[in-house]
């Protein structure tokens, strides 16, 4: 561990007391890498090759019914109207038909269809909050330690408060979960997301502050209930994680062989606040995802374009109703909004594809997924709209439509097991699945 001489004594004491109270054992994983124990997981890529990045984009409420489909392969692939914006990328595209998330069918509608989309875990109802660690955070916790920021969790719509049909609407607003009880807080502000990637504001003094609050919280940990200890551990871990980031600052660039094509941002810091114009907001977030990957500041991003049960409106697309109402209307206006979302997806993919990393493009070295909580506005989650673009560093041939409809292994969690393999994370089970998708 690299430490400045001034701080080393604190590290010693901090570690000692953390051990003393057994924090190490109780730590739930956050949006972070392993703190002690596990060695860093290396991607299956050799050292001189670019790392594989993972991205997931989400929009709620499904799509115009009957317009999400794909058939054929490679250049011959035909796409439904919703997917039309990614037509030019079809040779790098993998379309998954017929996948579903069994746990999402067990609750009610909307909120209980979203919170476990990337985990396949059962959702707690009745005001309790419990899902499962989502696939992006599993990657971040095991693989994100190589980068300055383990993962970015972005959104373009504020979270919903309240309870809907006995499920917290937190579930409608969070696809990324750092632990089964920790929905990862979303960054809505482009400027703050940008700062997270590139600002090195933290100082030695910050570290002293963090040392102090960590020591203090540990004193309290003794006298509170075990349930509260678990919650306080979220805090202890977060403090610890931020401290480690400060320590790690400057450690970047120690990779052997491969170097990112860009050292720093090639765009100005976005203006403070949330852009008034929704398309500008989304575009900035897309740019930040691309920039994060290109500079290798992080390798894991999720971008929630809107919530399930969303109230966003798109008057510039000549759609007057809110997104949720639009999804029930299922008309041309809704299709325009669907396509607008897929255009964001295509935008990220194209930009990555323009970045040459050796023989491959950045897109070839990525897996960018797009999915929704239901197929159409009618709450049908019997099969989900799922598509991945990018080659996972040569591990995922594109131009394919994989059809799992009617097959026993048609679980989203199986896809996630396969995806995790691409990052060298070989799990026996994930969510409700213990099988991989053979074709992936």
């Amino acid at each position: 561990m690299k430490t400045s001489p001034i701080m080393s004594s604190h590290h010693f004491s901090r570690r000692t007391f953390l051990r003393g109270v057994g924090v190490t054992m109780a730590l739930p994983w956050l949006e972070s890498r392993t703190v002690w124990g596990d060695a860093p997981v290396q991607t299956v890529q050799p050292n001189n090759q670019a790392p594989v990045r993972f991205g997931a984009l989400f929009s709620g409420n499904g799509f115009r019914s009957g317009e999400w489909w794909a058939k054929g392969a490679g250049q011959e692939m035909e796409l439904g109207k919703v997917l039309a914006p990614v037509t030019d990328l079809r040779e790098k595209l993998t379309v998954f038909n017929g996948l579903f998330n069994a746990e999402a069918l067990k609750g009610n509608i909307h909120s209980s269809q979203t919170g476990n989309l990337l985990s396949g875990a059962p959702l707690a109802s009745g005001g309790e909050i419990r899902s499962g660690t989502s696939v992006d955070q599993v990657i971040a916790q095991r693989y994100g330690r190589s980068t300055k920021v383990p993962s970015l969790v972005l959104g373009c719509e504020r979270s919903n408060a309240g309870i809907h049909k006995n499920y917290s609407m937190l579930y409608s607003s969070h696809i990324s979960w750092s632990s089964p009880t920790t929905p990862t807080p979303l960054e809505l502000y482009p400027a703050l997301a940008f700062d997270r990637l590139f600002k090195d504001g933290a100082t030695r003094s910050d570290q002293s502050v963090l040392d102090a609050v960590l020591a203090e919280a540990t004193q309290f940990r003794r006298n509170i209930s075990s349930m509260d200890q678990h919650k306080l551990d979220e805090y202890l871990n977060s403090v610890r994680e931020v401290e480690q980031r400060i320590e790690r600052a400057g450690d970047n660039g120690e990779l052997q062989g491969w170097r990112p094509t860009l050292d720093g941002p090639n765009m100005p810091r976005p203006a403070d606040g949330i852009p008034q114009d929704l398309s500008e907001h989304m575009r900035l977030m897309c740019d930040i995802v691309v920039l994060a990957f290109q500079t290798d500041t992080t390798r894991v991003c999720t971008l929630k374009l809107n919530n399930d049960h969303s109230y966003l409106r798109f008057p510039e697309l000549d759609a007057n109703e809110g997104h949720h109402q639009l999804s029930h209307n299922n008309d041309d206006a809704y299709l325009r909004v669907n396509q607008f979302f897929l255009e964001q997806y295509a935008y990220i993919a194209r930009k990555l594809d323009e970045i040459q990393e050796g023989e491959r493009t950045a897109l070839d070295n990525s897996m960018i997924m797009y999915c929704s909580s239901m197929m159409s506005g009618g709450h049908d989650a019997g099969q989900l709209p799922v598509v991945v673009v990018g080659g996972a560093g040569g591990q995922l041939p594109g131009g394919r439509v994989l059809d799992y409809a009617g097959q026993p292994n048609r679980k989203m969690a199986s896809l996630f097991l396969s995806i995790l393999d691409k990052y060298g994370i070989r799990l026996d089970e994930f969510g409700d699945s213990a099988e991989r998708l053979d074709e992936v």
């Binding site: 001034i6 949006e31 972070s32 067990k106 509608i109 009745g126 005001g127 909050i129 419990r130 969790v153 979270s159 408060a161 309240g162 309870i163 049909k165 917290s168 609407m169 937190l170 969070h174 750092s178 920790t182 929905p183 990862t184 807080p185 809505l188 703050l192 504001g201 030695r204 910050d206 002293s208 502050v209 963090l210 102090a212 609050v213 020591a215 203090e216 004193q219 309290f220 006298n223 509170i224 209930s225 075990s226 509260d228 919650k231 979220e234 805090y235 871990n237 977060s238 931020v242 409106r313 008057p315 007057n320 109402q325 029930h328 209307n329 206006a333 506005g377 009618g378 709450h379 049908d380």
Partner: protein, 1111 residues
């Protein structure tokens, strides 16, 4: 069609047996023995027949295994599945349609047992504090807490991620409040931002809305000026005004403010004078009534009614004694005349320089020992014959009698350049060229003060026409210089100066008191030329001298000394010891007394000198008159404190040194250098002293920080933690961070600390639930009612153990807090979340095309809802008023929107009789109506569902998969209602929609932004007649309101209480809370449904006062 519907209706009524309302109140609770026996004999066999095929340990459909419950003991291990089973049974969802169905009796038997078991279990577990997960402050609580701690409206959580809800649907539930590294960084940044608002003061610190030291100084300046303005007249007089002897450079827009508002006091004092009996109390009362300083009014009263005789005051006292309040202006004007004589004003920018003045307003004395009398006779215009000049030398006794008043006029003469002087004694003897003997002139004017009832000495004396015989002798007969005059005051010597011999010459003489006979005299001497000089205004034998002040300008940057001239000064004799005659001392004392009581200005309100182009001084304080005359002790020390703070915050003693050096550089080698360099020594000395003060204050800051942190930590501070805080500060200092930075970082650290961010509560030592500590209970109470930390009063009650000692103090604090304005936060955080209108303000969910007015109205709509609930809590309203209130709150815009006339302005009014406008209660709030609508049209489904789920707590079955779609816009020829009816008519949908749509139809009288309407969006008439699920026919808002009040009252109230309880406990309401809810309902019925009754029941419950024991 009717059969299944009846089942649904009756079943959904049954659902609410459990928590929503209790129909078995009073029924004998079942013993577990009898329940156990019945479980074995009746229930278990029924389960086997109808349930276990799917819900076996193997199949476990829907994650439900009922097979494992072999006996009641097993059932009691895990109650949750039975609550779920009860729900599914009552909803009619189980057993599923395709399975074997129990008979009605069997169903009743099964359901009956489950209900009785759950009731028994609820009683057995009653008061269980439940699982309450450690709560992080949510964004709102964090913000309110920071604001209450700092006293400043900061918004540090503005860019924090929004939070989700848990428990009963509120954002204050621990498990919905996650922490993450990125959020932690936000807290750290926010802590630093808050710390940047700290203003360090000599003995501690406070917070400011600003982070700029310049603004902090301005805030203190503002406070000082506000204090000044309380007692002084701050409307600045322009230059050249009444008191405009302030001479400043250029066009500096500096007027004379801070004046003594004498007229008000004289008017009030006249009021006192007219009262029969005068007591101290009366002065105080009058002062209070007129918002005057009692202290000054008292001094004024004392001086005017008593005190030593004074040549300046005696006449004034007489006039005041007879005056009525409306004559106060004239009295004040009289004083103003003397104020102009007794004071001068000068530029403050020069103060401190060598030879410069020391005050802005200085005393000036009109006392002299000799007076130059001069008058230049103008030559006649060409071709015209000049007129003779008539000069009166007016000599008065200065109002104090004429003993010793022998005035010597030294050799009056006419002088001209390059010509020999003409002595008046010669001229009058005919020695000169004149052949026209001086005729006695008739007095041409009446004395100017004829209307004044004065004892003016001089104009009682007829003018004496000067003749040659008057020269050379003293009135007592002895000889004096032959060319001089000696006159006994009062006298007027009239001199006719013939045009022929005097044109172009100047009349010159010197007046002084005769050294032998006039050493103790006092007179005024004033030459008055007929037709040229205005005659002096006489009061009490004195006239007010006229003063003029002339500044000589040395350079364009620095002005220099002033010259003061008087016309009609008071002449005193030289006395025995030089100029210090007894008369002079006496007059000086009288003038001092006058100055002390009547300073024209009380304070220098400008404070920052701007009357010079460049000044050394940053701030100039001159408020001794204000302090002495107007302020009470407490105000005086506050003023002193503010001044100390101003100096401290602006660091002016150090900054002045920089300015001084800069100026010295500029004037190096110039004459000004010497006068400025004189400031150096005192300013440097002050600078050193100030540096020491800065250093001395550092420990105070650290201690104040520890004390502040004690509040921030809300009862969790220990001596060890305090020591750790100090340690961190010293660690920063050891690493050479300056004090300010080390202080702010340590302060920031407090806002990242777990005892601030989390509501830590110790777990009871036993496994049984135990009472929480006083501090913990105080926190629970204040976060429930105020979404913030306890205030000083509640903290003290907790510390002294009163809050945890029985109900009395807890209830008293609760009542106090409910009446406090901070209960607005309960209205916002609880009530608005309960109604699903939280954060309505930025709602951008309406189509601008359809409702362009909405964007400007939504803030007002939200405010109405918040005010409605604030009023409910603050004034202990009836919960029935939620439905049938006949009042609401409006400003002009909202009144206009509601079609109500006569409300003007932005101010919010409570408006009664609102039902006649088709409003009243939560069903008719613009917020709820707009929230439960689409962006372009109303949605009876959303509104109906809202009433059903949110207001009544009903749980609807899950909608079918693939619900059919609705058209975006209503097709031609259909109302929104008809569109919905088309949709809901489909069999798959009817089951639920029959329950919710009719409720929504009743509210079709309101459009999608909550405006009353007669026709639908497509122009068709609105039909708000509808049939409730139980068959009741109703009409519109009033029908729905009456239906809910009469038929569904208990269900509605119980749901409100359930939500309030869930909010208070920050968890889901559970089975064991049922007895408490029963109790609340009973108390509400007995107490006119007053909301405080529900609050009181909650805060005194075991759930609220205890925590679960350790596992």
């Amino acid at each position: 069609m009717t059969a299944p519907r009846q089942i649904i209706v009756s079943l959904c009524t049954a659902l609410h047996l459990l928590l929503v309302y209790s129909v078995v109140a009073g029924a004998q609770p079942q013993t577990f023995d009898s329940l156990g026996a019945r479980y074995d004999q009746e229930t278990r066999p029924l389960l086997s027949r109808f349930c276990l095929e799917c819900h076996s340990t193997d199949a476990k459909e829907g994650d439900l295994d009922l097979e494992r419950f072999a006996t009641l003991a097993d059932v009691r291990q895990d109650t949750k599945p039975w609550q779920k089973a009860f729900e599914m049974l009552t909803l009619g969802e189980m057993p599923p349609e395709e399975s074997d169905q129990p008979s009605a009796d069997e169903r009743d038997q099964l359901l009956g047992w489950v209900r009785q078991y759950l009731d028994a279990e609820a009683l057995a577990q009653a008061g269980d504090p439940g699982p309450v997960v450690l709560r992080r402050l949510n964004n709102a609580e964090y913000t309110y807490t920071v604001r209450d701690l700092t006293g400043v409206e900061l918004d540090p959580a503005r860019e924090f991620p929004t939070e989700g809800a848990g428990g009963e649907g509120f954002t204050n539930v621990g498990n919905a409040l996650a922490m993450s590294p990125s959020l932690l960084v936000k807290y750290l940044d926010a802590g630093k931002k808050i710390a940047a608002h700290a203003v360090l003061l000599p003995d501690g610190f406070r917070f400011s809305t600003s982070t700029m030291p310049g603004d902090w100084a301005d805030e203190i300046l503002g406070d000082i000026r506000a204090l000044y303005a309380t007692y002084s007249d701050t409307v600045a007089l322009g230059l050249g005004s009444e008191l405009g002897n302030v001479n400043v450079h250029g066009d500096t827009p500096l007027g004379l403010a801070g004046r003594l508002p004498l007229e008000k006091y004289l008017a009030a004092a006249a009021t006192i004078a007219q009262q029969d009996e005068i007591q101290i109390g009366t002065v105080e009362t009058i002062a209070l009534k007129h918002e005057l300083s009692a202290s000054y009014l008292h001094s004024l009263w004392e001086t005017l009614t008593a005190g030593e005789p004074s040549f300046l005051l005696d006449g004034f006292r007489e006039r005041w004694r007879d005056a009525t309040p409306d004559e106060a202006a004239a009295l004040a004007a009289e004083v103003a005349g003397w104020q102009k004589t007794l004071f001068t004003f000068g530029p403050t920018g020069l103060i401190g320089r060598k030879g410069g003045r020391s005050r802005w307003m200085e005393a000036v004395s009109p006392l002299v020992t000799q007076v130059e009398l001069r008058y230049a006779v103008l030559p006649a215009a060409e071709g015209q014959e000049g007129a003779d000049t008539i000069l009166d030398i007016v000599i008065t006794d200065a109002g104090d009698g004429n003993e010793h008043d022998f005035v010597l006029l030294h050799q009056p003469r006419l002088v001209a350049a390059d010509m020999p002087d003409i002595l008046l004694s010669d001229l009058l003897q005919g020695g000169a060229d004149t052949n026209a003997p001086a005729d006695p002139a008739e007095p041409t004017e009446e004395p100017p003060t004829a209307t004044e009832p004065v004892e003016a000495a001089w104009h009682c004396v007829p003018p004496v026409v000067l003749d040659a015989s008057m020269f050379g002798k003293h009135p007592d007969g002895h000889e004096i210089d032959a060319h001089s005059l000696c006159v006994h005051a009062p006298a007027v010597i009239q001199i006719r100066l013939p045009a022929a011999s005097t044109a172009g010459r100047e009349f010159v003489s010197t007046a002084s008191l005769d050294p032998d006979t006039g050493a103790e005299g006092s007179v005024q001497v004033l030459p008055v030329v007929h037709g040229v000089h205005p005659p002096p205004v006489i009061r009490s034998g004195l006239f007010t001298p006229e003063m003029s002040v002339i500044y000589s300008v040395v350079s364009s940057i620095f002005s220099d000394h002033q010259t003061v001239r008087f016309r009609g000064a008071i002449l005193t004799g030289k006395g025995l010891a030089g100029e210090n005659s007894a008369a002079r001392r006496r007059i000086n004392e009288a003038m001092d007394e006058y100055r002390q009581l009547f300073p024209p200005a009380l304070c220098y309100t400008q404070i920052v000198p701007v009357d010079e182009v460049v000044t050394v001084l940053f701030h100039f304080r001159e408020d001794d008159h204000l302090s002495r005359l107007m302020l009470e002790d407490a105000q005086r020390s506050r003023l002193d404190r503010l001044w100390t703070e101003l100096q401290y915050v602006s660091e002016s003693p150090l900054k002045q040194l920089d300015t001084l050096e800069l100026q010295l550089e500029v004037v190096l080698g110039n004459p000004q250098y010497d006068s400025i360099v004189a400031m150096r020594e005192p300013l440097y000395a002050r600078g050193d002293e100030f540096r020491q003060e800065l250093t001395d204050s550092e420990p105070h800051h650290l201690e104040a920080l520890v004390e502040f942190a004690t509040r921030v930590y809300r009862g969790r501070m220990t001596e060890l933690m305090a020591e750790q805080l100090r340690g961190l500060y010293h660690q920063f200092r050891d690493h050479e961070l300056p004090h300010d930075e080390a202080f702010r970082l340590t302060l920031a650290r407090v806002f990242v600390a777990s005892p601030f961010l989390y509501r830590l509560e110790d777990v009871p030592a036993e496994t049984e639930p135990g009472p929480v500590s006083g501090a913990e209970l105080a926190n629970r109470l204040s976060y429930f009612l105020w979404s913030s930390l306890p205030d000083a009063e509640l903290s003290a009650a907790a510390e002294e153990g009163r809050v945890t000692a029985g109900d009395t103090e807890l209830l008293a604090q609760t009542q106090r807090m409910l009446h406090d304005p901070r209960v607005r936060r309960l209205a916002t955080e609880f009530a608005c979340q309960y109604l699903h209108i939280y954060d309505f303000d930025p709602l951008a969910e309406k189509s601008e095309t359809h409702f362009p007015e909405f964007a400007d109205l939504r803030g007002d709509m939200y405010e109405e809802s918040i005010l409605f609930f604030t009023d409910l809590f603050q004034n202990d309203g009836s919960l029935l008023g939620l439905l049938n209130a006949d009042h609401t709150f409006v400003n002009d815009r909202l009144a206009d929107f509601y079609g109500i006339q006569g409300i003007e302005g932005d101010v919010w009014h409570r408006l009664d009789g609102i039902q006649q406008h088709g409003r009243g209660g939560i069903l008719a709030l613009a917020t709820t109506l707009a929230q439960q609508s689409g962006a372009t049209r109303t949605s009876p489904i959303l509104r109906g569902n809202w009433v059903s789920e949110v207001l009544l707590g009903e749980r609807l079955p899950r909608p079918p998969k693939d619900v059919p779609q609705l058209a975006d816009t209503v097709p031609e020829g259909l109302t929104e209602r008809q569109l919905i009816e088309l949709h809901s008519g489909q069999p798959a949908c009817a089951k639920c929609h029959e329950r919710i749509d009719p409720i929504g139809f009743a509210l079709e009288e309101f459009d999608a932004i909550g405006r009353r309407r007669e026709t639908s969006a497509s122009g068709l008439p609105i039909d708000s007649h509808t049939r409730m699920p139980d068959g009741t026919e109703i009409e519109g808002l009033s029908g729905l309101r009456d239906y809910l009040l009469q038929t569904r009252r208990d269900q509605f109230l119980r749901q409100f209480c359930r939500k309030l309880l869930g909010y208070a406990l920050a968890r889901e309401v559970q089975l064991s809370d049922k007895p408490l809810l029963d109790d609340i309902m009973e108390k509400l019925r007995a107490n006119d449904y007053r909301v405080s009754v529900a609050v009181e029941q909650i805060v005194t419950s075991d759930q609220f006062r205890k925590a679960r024991g350790k596992e």
